[in-house]
Each structure stands twice: as structure tokens, then as C-alpha cells.
């Protein structure tokens, strides 16, 4: 109805997407919780909204679910604007951060609740409930009360309850945050299995970057209420759009300096007097000569060796002194002080610690990396 002439083509793209968020903002008093967020999510995809605490993830999710109205902007679900649709009329299944299972009902009654509320044929309900309990591997647990289930089992009841009425959209607000790491990783894979099996469009919120990388088809990175990047996990990791994303995902070293040379994609920075070569990162404007910039370099892209021998193919080679070596099980993390780079401390992963030499604090080492592995962002 409110579609201005300019809005017509927009609505057409919205029709193709299961969820479409258009320039949505939410203001609480003087807090801008979400600023002009926009994205389209095709049907059947698994999207994760990733961001630090307070970045507006929950707020965005609550607006999609219909618990809060956007201050500005519009949300389309299945191509329809949902501004005037209350939550109970939206076909959205939601799993809450604290699960919000009904404590006075059994697991089966919890799962049956949405079916009863949506007036499904009473005769089909028990069969459906059992089918979904089996889907989450809780067959036979229906008669248990909620407090007689373990944390992971409760989690799965909540998922079954959100899925049983075959919603168009599944929303997950950090439902795994409270679990211990092993169970969390199991549940992440479980999510992915169920989502693929049912093909339901899903939006998942988390601040666990590993979870985002593991389960998602698409990742939206948020910070300060703004969307920083929307991309597939591989791209989010390999080609971060800006310094924030590079820093938030993975372990990243930042080398700051002024630009001394630019040619096409290649950029050279002067860091503590040394020339460091990298490539332009992200979609923002390439920094010009003389401007301040930061080079982002992942800890696993740096090679470490006792001497520079064998580093001949690398564009950047420096030497430094190990300050600390941290054993993390599958890898060793070295902190290396590099005087050539103005005393910068680089974190370096060594995943293959068995096969070659290990270093200890005080050892002199050589570090090297490719120019294409260092993304340079304008400051």
C-alpha cells in the first residue's frame, strides 16, 4: 500500500526472497540499536547474524519476529510487508536465548502447543509431535517434564517446538550460548542437519564466529547497529570487507603505517620504516599515497622458521624474537616481537608443530608472508 513508485521494483526483488529487510532502523530513546540494516535472504538459506555484544542482533531479530516495530524501514516476509501483522499471525518459529519452554508442560505438550494454537486437526497432532521429537532425536522423551531433561535435550525440544508447525522462517537467538563447548559443537551440526533436511529458511544470531562459519550459508556481520558485511562464510573469512570484520573473525594482526606506493591492487605501507606489501582490502576506496592505513594479516598466513632460508618466494620477510609460545593443543601460537616493524608484536600460528622445530621465548626467528594475504584498509 505504501509502495511509492520507486518502491515497486524493490517489492519485486522482495518477492523472490523469503525475508527482505529494507533500510530498517530501531531507536530506543537515544540508543541507535539498529541503523539502516538491509539484506535479502533467499528461500531455504541459513543466515547467521554475527556481531559483538550490543551490536543490535537481538533487536533486528525481534523486529523480524514482530515483537518490536522498526522505527524506520520495512520488513518483507515471503514478499509481503509485515508491518501490520502481529507475531502470532506471522508464520515464524523462534528459539529464544533462554529457550522459553513452558515449565508446566511436558516436552510433548510444549511441541503440541503451536499446533493447538494454530488449530491443526487434533487427531493429527500426536503423530506430528512424535515425528518432530524424533527429528531432533528425542523420540520417546515426550512424557518428560521440562526440568527432567538435560540442557541439550531442552534445546532440542525448543527446536522441535519452533519447527513443528512448518513455519516459513526459523529464528534462532543464540540458543547455544549457554551450552558447554562440546555440546555446542554437536548442536551446531545438528542445526545444520535439520535445516538441510527441512529446507526451512533460517536466521541464526550468535557472537561465536566458529558457529557462524560452521553452520551458515551466509553471514551478516554487525557492529554498532550497522551491517558491516554480508557474504558467504568463505568470503567473510578470506575477504573481509573492512578492518572490523577482519579483526572480529579469526586471529588477525594489524600493521599500521602510511601508504608509500599504490599500483592497481598492490599497495605498499611503511611500517616503522620498513616497506610492507599487501593488496587493497574490502570494497571501500583504495587508500591514496601518503594516507594512513592498516594492513590486516591472519595469524595462520604467516610462516615461521629459524632462518629466512626457503622464504625466497615471499614478498614480506622480517626477523624477530619469540616473546611467548602458547600451546593450544592442535596448534602453537607464537607472539613474535619484530623490531624492524617498529616493535610490532605479531601472532603466528604453527599448526604443524610436530614436524619441525619448536621455538621458545627468546629464540630468534624469521617470519614471512605473501602480499596477497595482507589486506590493506583505509584508516
Amino acid at each position: 500500500m505504501s509502495a511509492a513508485p520507486a518502491g515497486v521494483p524493490q517489492q519485486e526483488t522482495a518477492a523472490a526472497a523469503a525475508v527482505s529487510v529494507k533500510r530498517v532502523s530501531k531507536v530506543f530513546g537515544d540508543v541507535h540499536a539498529v541503523r539502516e540494516a538491509s539484506f535479502d535472504l533467499p528461500k531455504g538459506r541459513f543466515l547467521t547474524i554475527l556481531g559483538p555484544s550490543g551490536s543490535g542482533k537481538t533487536t533486528l531479530l525481534r523486529m523480524i519476529a514482530g515483537f518490536d516495530a522498526p522505527t524506520e524501514g520495512d520488513i518483507y516476509i515471503g514478499g509481503q510487508p509485515v508491518k501490520a501483522v502481529p507475531p502470532h499471525k506471522r508464520a515464524i518459529g523462534m528459539v529464544f536465548q533462554k529457550l522459553a519452554l513452558f515449565p508446566h508442560m511436558t516436552a510433548a505438550e510444549n511441541v503440541a502447543f503451536p499446533l493447538k494454537m494454530r488449530r491443526h486437526d487434533a487427531r493429527t497432532i500426536p503423530e506430528k509431535v512424535e515425528r518432530y521429537l524424533e527429528l531432533v532425536r528425542l523420540g520417546g522423551y515426550g512424557k518428560r517434564r521440562i526440568d527432567e531433561l538435560s540442557g541439550g535435550q531442552q534445546q532440542r525440544v525448543a527446536i522441535a517446538r519452533a519447527l513443528v508447525f512448518e513455519p516459513d522462517l526459523l529464528l534462532l537467538d543464540e540458543p547455544l550460548a549457554a551450552l558447554d563447548r562440546k555440546l555446542r559443537e554437536e548442536m551446531q551440526l545438528e542445526f545444520r542437519r535439520i535445516q538441510k533436511e527441512l529446507g526451512v529458511t533460517t536466521i541464526n544470531v550468535t557472537h561465536d564466529q566458529r558457529e557462524a562459519l560452521v553452520v551458515s550459508d551466509e553471514i551478516v556481520v554487525m557492529d554498532g547497529g550497522e551491517i558491516q558485511q554480508m557474504a558467504q562464510p568463505v568470503h567473510t573469512y578470506r575477504t573481509p570487507a573492512n578492518a572490523f570484520v577482519a579483526n572480529f573473525i579469526g586471529v588477525t594482526n594489524f600493521l599500521e603505517g602510511s601508504v608509500v606506493e599504490t599500483s592497481n591492487e598492490a599497495i605498499a605501507l611503511s611500517v616503522g620504516g620498513m616497506r610492507v606489501k599487501g593488496v587493497a582490502g574490502g570494497t571501500a576506496k583504495v587508500p591514496a599515497q601518503g594516507e594512513l592505513a592498516a594492513g590486516a594479516l591472519r595469524a595462520e598466513q604467516i610462516r615461521i622458521a629459524p632462518t629466512v632460508q626457503g622464504f625466497s618466494g615471499l614478498a614480506n620477510v622480517v626477523s624477530g624474537e619469540v616473546r611467548d609460545a602458547i600451546f593450544e593443543g592442535e596448534r602453537i601460537v607464537y607472539e613474535v616481537v619484530v623490531p624492524e616493524l617498529g616493535g610490532a608484536v605479531l601472532r603466528v600460528f604453527d599448526h604443524d608443530a610436530e614436524s619441525h622445530q619448536q621455538f621458545g621465548p627468546g629464540d630468534s626467528v624469521a617470519l614471512g608472508w605473501n602480499a596477497k594475504d595482507m589486506y590493506i584498509f583505509k584508516k
Binding site: G93, P103, M117
Partner: protein
């Protein structure tokens, strides 16, 4: 300013001295007995109550000799027979029980939305207002409040004067059953709200969001989620309101004007008007019995955990 003293403040020194004194009076080896020692005041209090009950039980078994105005020497159940058969007493009992039941139901119906709003509202100003409005009546005693109603509802009261302005002849608003019930509901409301509010605070707002995302409109969400989960609060509040109403004295006396006596008024009359201690004691015991049986029944039906304000819930 004086660092040497600040380093070892006077309060600490006083505490040290107290601790030493306590150590002398109650050596460590006695420490296992400490919890029992702390129970002592409560036990004393209960003991006094039990003793009083025994005394009342004793009087209830003696009848009043109307010629000498002395209590009979030998025990008899005559008082109980009278209490259960005489028309006057059964009427009073019926009126009190029925009245308390109505008051309980009506109070809970009013208190429920009030506490819900108080617990759930986003506006802290509204919450404060509701809390103050709730506590204000506590500062005014029951008797004063009842007299307040006399001023408002009396034949020359404010309501009738206002009605007079529009040409309605004065209506008798006081000294009848509804007036007493009205006064009781108004008196009980804060108690009920104060008992309901914690039970409702224990229901996470997320449960209601979840219900609505699962397809429940607010009526269903209220019926299937809020109401069942408030049960402990409702049972507790109902029990308190019922027993307080059943044993109330001032409101039936003042707003009922002597024509609407509850059990407590009848007991008062027996003790202080007819001086029949035996009958007064009998009625008192019967009242205690009804109250105890009721609490016992509620515990049996809902479990003793209900009054612990959802202590058995996570």
C-alpha cells in the same frame, strides 16, 4: 584525616570486643546448639499459643449458669451443640463463609490484572504509582478506613449528596451485606497484589513472547501460560484473603452496623456482651478448626510447595 585510626576503625574494635564477649558467653564447643537456641523464641511463642488454646478448649466445655453467672464445674458438649444447631450461629457462620468466598474471588479478579500490569509495565513511573497506591492504604488503619467509607457512603455522605444534586433521593448504601463485602475487598486488595506480584515476576516475559510467536493470541497466552504459572501466587493470595476475611472484625462491625455480623463479631459479643466465655471459646475453636481444615485441604490439593512462591520451579 587521621590515617592511623582509619586503618583500624572504631567499628571494627567494637565488633572485636563483642566477639570476645560472645566467645565467653557461648564457647565454640556449644556451637552445634546454636540453631536450636535461635529456635527458642519461636518455640516460646508457639508454646504460649498452644497454652492459650488449651485454656480456650477448657472453657468451651463449660456452660454459663445464668442464675449465678458462673461457669459450670463439669464438662459438657452443650456449647458445641448450640453452636451447630442454633439458627443465629449457623446464619453468622454461613454469612462469614459465603462472604469470604465472594470476597476472595472478587479480590483475586481485581488483583490479578493489577499485579500483572505492575510487574510487566515498561514505564517505571507507572510501576511506582501502582506500588505507592498499593502501600498507601497500609498507613491508614482498618478502622479509620471503614469510617472513611461511612463518610463517603452514609445517608448524608458524599455519594448521596452528589446523587441529590441530580435529583435522586438518598439510597441506603451502608449497613448491608454488599457494603461489608465491598469494604472487605477494598481492604484485601493490597494483600492479594503483594502475594501475586512475586509469583508473576517469576514468569519470564519471554514465555509470553514465545507463546505469541507460536501462534497464541493474548487470550490464549493468558489462559495457557500466565494463568497456570501464576497458580502458586493465586492459591497463596486466595488463602490469605479468605482467612483474613473469615476472621475480620472491624469491617463487618462498622460497615455492617451490627446487622451483618461475622464470626469474630459473634465471638466478641459472647465474651464482652453476654459474658458467656464458654460459648465464645467454642466459637473461637470452631473458627480455628475451619481455618486449619481449609489450609490443610489446600495443601493436600495443591501441595505444600505452592505457598513457597514457586520455590520448586527453576
Amino acid at each position: 584525616m587521621r590515617p592511623s585510626r582509619a586503618a583500624y576503625p572504631i567499628r571494627w574494635r567494637v565488633m572485636d570486643i563483642l566477639e570476645q564477649v560472645a566467645g565467653k558467653l557461648w564457647p565454640r564447643s556449644f556451637s552445634a546448639g546454636l540453631p536450636y537456641l535461635m529456635l527458642l523464641p519461636a518455640l516460646l511463642l508457639v508454646g504460649v499459643l498452644v497454652w492459650g488454646l488449651v485454656e480456650i478448649g477448657d472453657s468451651s466445655l463449660r456452660t454459663l449458669d445464668t442464675s449465678t453467672f458462673l461457669m459450670s464445674e463439669n464438662y459438657t458438649l452443650a456449647n458445641y451443640q448450640r453452636a451447630l444447631s442454633e439458627r443465629f450461629f449457623t446464619t453468622v457462620a454461613g454469612r462469614s463463609l459465603m462472604g469470604s468466598l465472594i470476597v476472595t474471588v472478587v479480590t483475586l479478579i481485581f488483583a490479578f490484572p493489577y499485579s500483572y500490569l505492575m510487574v510487566r509495565t515498561q514505564s517505571s513511573a507507572l510501576r511506582k504509582f501502582l506500588l505507592v497506591a498499593l502501600f498507601l492504604p497500609f498507613f491508614i488503619g482498618q478502622v479509620v478506613r471503614a469510617y472513611g467509607w461511612l463518610i463517603i457512603l452514609g445517608n448524608q455522605g458524599m455519594v448521596n449528596e452528589a446523587l441529590g444534586l441530580v435529583g435522586v433521593t438518598p439510597i441506603r448504601l451502608l449497613y448491608n451485606y454488599p457494603a461489608v463485602l465491598f469494604g472487605l475487598v477494598q481492604y484485601m486488595l493490597p494483600f492479594a497484589v503483594l502475594m501475586l506480584a512475586p509469583a508473576m515476576t517469576a514468569i519470564p516475559a519471554e514465555l509470553e513472547s514465545a507463546a505469541s510467536s507460536l501462534g497464541a493470541n493474548w487470550i490464549s497466552s493468558f489462559r495457557h501460560i500466565v494463568l497456570p504459572l501464576s497458580k502458586p501466587g493465586l492459591v497463596g493470595a486466595g488463602l490469605v484473603v479468605f482467612t483474613l476475611s473469615l476472621t475480620d472484625f472491624a469491617i463487618p462491625a462498622i460497615l455492617g452496623g451490627g446487622s451483618q455480623d461475622f464470626i469474630a463479631n459473634a465471638i466478641y459479643d459472647q465474651f464482652f456482651r453476654t459474658s458467656d466465655q464458654g460459648m465464645g471459646a467454642t466459637l473461637s475453636l470452631l473458627l480455628v478448626a475451619v481455618g486449619s481444615i481449609l489450609v490443610g485441604l489446600v495443601f493436600m490439593v495443591f501441595g505444600a510447595g505452592t505457598l513457597a512462591m514457586g520455590g520448586d520451579r527453576k
